[in-house]
């Protein structure tokens, strides 16, 4: 039954996308590990780090698209779930440092010694174990999404009001995490990570593995999302997006649909954030900043809202552009981002993927098809 469930959404273009993502995640790390540095095919570690980061962003974009593209909830706070997953991973990584910190305290991370903590705050217990951290990475964002969604959807908050609430949520979390007495590193956040599962986070082999893991997770997310969207649940979900009250009068309890997909999406964002942190080596409260969530929405818009491949393409395109422009013309980036938003809204309402299917279908009779 599970196999059938996972298989039901797998259209041909999605299979290609999943294989492509896996190929990137396997070939690039292998080229890094197996090729000598002198070989033309050698992939340096910084490329792996960059690709790994993009893959995490693509997972976040997919999570945003699941609620925005398929359920019509314009979330402007998804970076909060991403950052929460990242913080859970950061707490695990901090506790792996042990007595190797600047202050050499075997139990307390450096920032706690610096802030005169006498003992470990209660919520840090358990984070020395990876399995515990792994559970928290999924649980913390999911529970926040469950609480927020339960109240918002039950009181039928929709549209721009819901967007504002999600934006306020991430902003409030940012302010909270900036406080030093939260016991989570304050404005400096957490950094100077040493080991993950016993392997040095600095080593090329770990970088290669993390890049592969990010690709694998994205591929799994694509398969799960396709299964959800391709199921009868998915049909009802898009119907809720298009005509919510009509669905109510057909007897559907719309809240359950929204809540499930919102929580699923938050869990996905949390996992993406957890993979992001060891690759960039730092997590701090600026990850909660409202701009990050809005950028994630933009990736989806550029790639193609309501398709599964679109957000992946959008995340890669926009972030590649960001990496390039912030290096070449740093002062131009924000203007370029703004211009991109306007251009996509005006000329590409269905994103790059929409443009592609528009070109492909020109002159041929279009048949009804579920977007992949």
């Amino acid at each position: 039954m599970i196999t059938r469930f996972l298989w039901q959404g797998m259209g041909p273009s999605l299979r290609v996308a999943v294989l492509f993502v896996l190929a990137i995640g396997i070939i690039l790390p292998l080229l890094n590990q197996l090729m000598p540095a002198s070989n033309a095919l050698y992939v340096p570690a910084w490329v792996l780090q960059l690709i790994g980061k993009y893959l995490c962003f693509a997972s976040l974009a997919l999570a945003v698209d699941l609620v925005w593209g398929f359920c019509g909830i314009l979330t402007l706070g998804h970076a909060a779930f991403f950052a929460l997953g990242g913080y859970c991973m950061g707490m695990y990584l901090m506790r792996q440092i042990g007595s190797r910190g600047q202050y050499g305290n075997p139990l307390l991370p450096d920032f706690m010694v610096f802030l005169n903590y006498k003992e470990l705050p209660w919520f840090w217990h358990g984070f020395d174990q990876f399995w515990f951290a792994a559970i928290m990475i999924v649980l913390v964002p999911s529970l926040l999404a469950l609480a927020l969604g339960w109240f918002a959807f039950r009181s039928r908050v929709t549209g721009v009001y819901l967007s504002i609430i999600t934006q306020a949520m991430t902003f409030a979390l940012m302010l909270a995490f900036f406080r030093n007495d939260m016991g989570l590193g304050g404005n400096n956040g957490m950094t100077d990570f040493k080991d993950i599962l016993g392997f040095s986070v600095q080593s090329d082999a770990t970088r290669a593995t993390l890049c592969f893991a990010s690709a694998l997770v994205l591929a799994i997310f694509l398969v799960i999302s396709a299964a959800v969207v391709g199921s009868r649940f998915g049909k009802a979900l898009t119907a809720v997006r298009d005509a919510e009250s009509r669905m109510r009068f057909l007897g559907y309890r719309v809240e359950g649909y929204k809540l499930f997909v919102f929580v699923l999406s938050a869990a996905m964002a949390g996992i993406a954030g957890a993979l992001y942190v060891p690759q960039v080596g730092i997590i701090n409260p600026s990850e909660f900043s409202p701009g990050n969530s809005i950028e994630a929405v933009l990736w989806v818009a550029v790639g193609g809202r309501g398709t599964l491949i679109g957000p992946v393409i959008g995340a890669f395109l926009v972030n590649w552009g960001k990496t390039y422009l912030t290096g070449a013309l740093p002062e131009v980036w924000l203007f370029a981002l703004g211009a991109l938003f306007i251009a996509v809204t005006l000329f590409l309402p269905k994103g790059v993927v929409g443009l592609w299917s528009q070109i492909r279908s020109r002159g041929t009779t279009r048949k009804a098809k579920v977007p992949a």
Partner: protein
């Protein structure tokens, strides 16, 4: 009002003393109404008479301030939400055809089909053989088999109307509420719609809210006239049109 007393009524839909006010304006004012099983009822009245508010109250969209709304002799509709009420067997057709434009014709019918509604069951459920057979049956009734895999957005206006009728058949409600079905229709379309409603009425109870007198005449059923949120008159169309108060309301101002 106490709801503990068990009300026994043979009526399919029973409204008693229903009052709804919006910011002091009484959209419904002590309205009482009975619809018998198998009946088709037309509800008419000038603009602002409370026709749509009455539908909203019955389908759970609006909660009455006072009064009783009982369905099928047992269900207290004032305590239930839209989804519960729809599951009990009350369907609603809106004035504007509302089909799911981004779904195929067949999927539109599947979504409307009576049965599975809970999200966790639908995650794993495939359409059963019985469901597929029923869909095929409805597709043949509404003569849309060739278009079944077409997106509803690509249908013509008339085809959308037919699809919506198919969705109502799929939903199979005990009571169907129809909101101004012929607004903006030509005379021929109006006549066809009256025929379709009579056909549906053979197996379902129907309440039609309408503005258009000639359509109500074509239906030839018992008429309830609403005015300022209350019932003004009830009877055949000839009886109510002879009522001086009705004439006053419709022509007197």
């Amino acid at each position: 009002m106490s709801m503990t007393e068990q009300r026994s009524t043979s009526a399919l839909l029973y409204l008693s003393g229903v009052t709804v006010s919006f910011d002091g304006f009484k959209a419904l004012n002590n309205l009482s109404l009975l619809v018998e099983p198998g009946e088709m009822r037309a509800i008419i009245g000038p603009n602002g008479a409370g026709k749509t508010t009455m539908m909203d109250v019955v389908t759970g969209k609006t909660r009455p301030d006072e009064g009783e709304v009982v369905f099928d002799g047992k269900a207290d509709l004032t305590k239930l939400d839209e989804a519960d009420i729809a599951t009990l067997g009350i369907g609603r057709k809106f004035q504007k055809p509302t089909v799911f434009e981004n779904h195929t014709v067949r999927d539109n019918l599947l979504l409307a089909l009576a049965g599975l509604r809970s999200w966790y069951k639908l995650l794993l459920a495939a359409p059963t053989k019985a469901e597929n057979n029923r869909l095929d049956e409805i597709l043949s009734i509404i003569r849309m088999e060739p278009q079944q895999h077409m997106l509803a957005a690509r249908l013509s206006h008339g085809q959308k109307q037919w699809l919506e009728i198919g969705m109502l058949l799929a939903q199979d409600p005990k009571l169907l509420l129809v909101d101004e079905p012929v607004a903006g229709m030509t005379d021929v379309e109006t006549e066809t719609t009256a025929q379709v409603l009579r056909e549906i009425n053979k197996t379902h109870s129907v309440v039609v809210v309408e503005h258009d007198m000639s359509f109500v005449r074509a239906l030839g059923v018992k008429v309830t006239v609403l005015h300022e949120g209350s019932m003004l008159a009830e009877g055949t169309l000839d009886q109510v049109s002879a009522d001086p108060r009705v004439v006053e309301v419709y022509l007197g101002r």
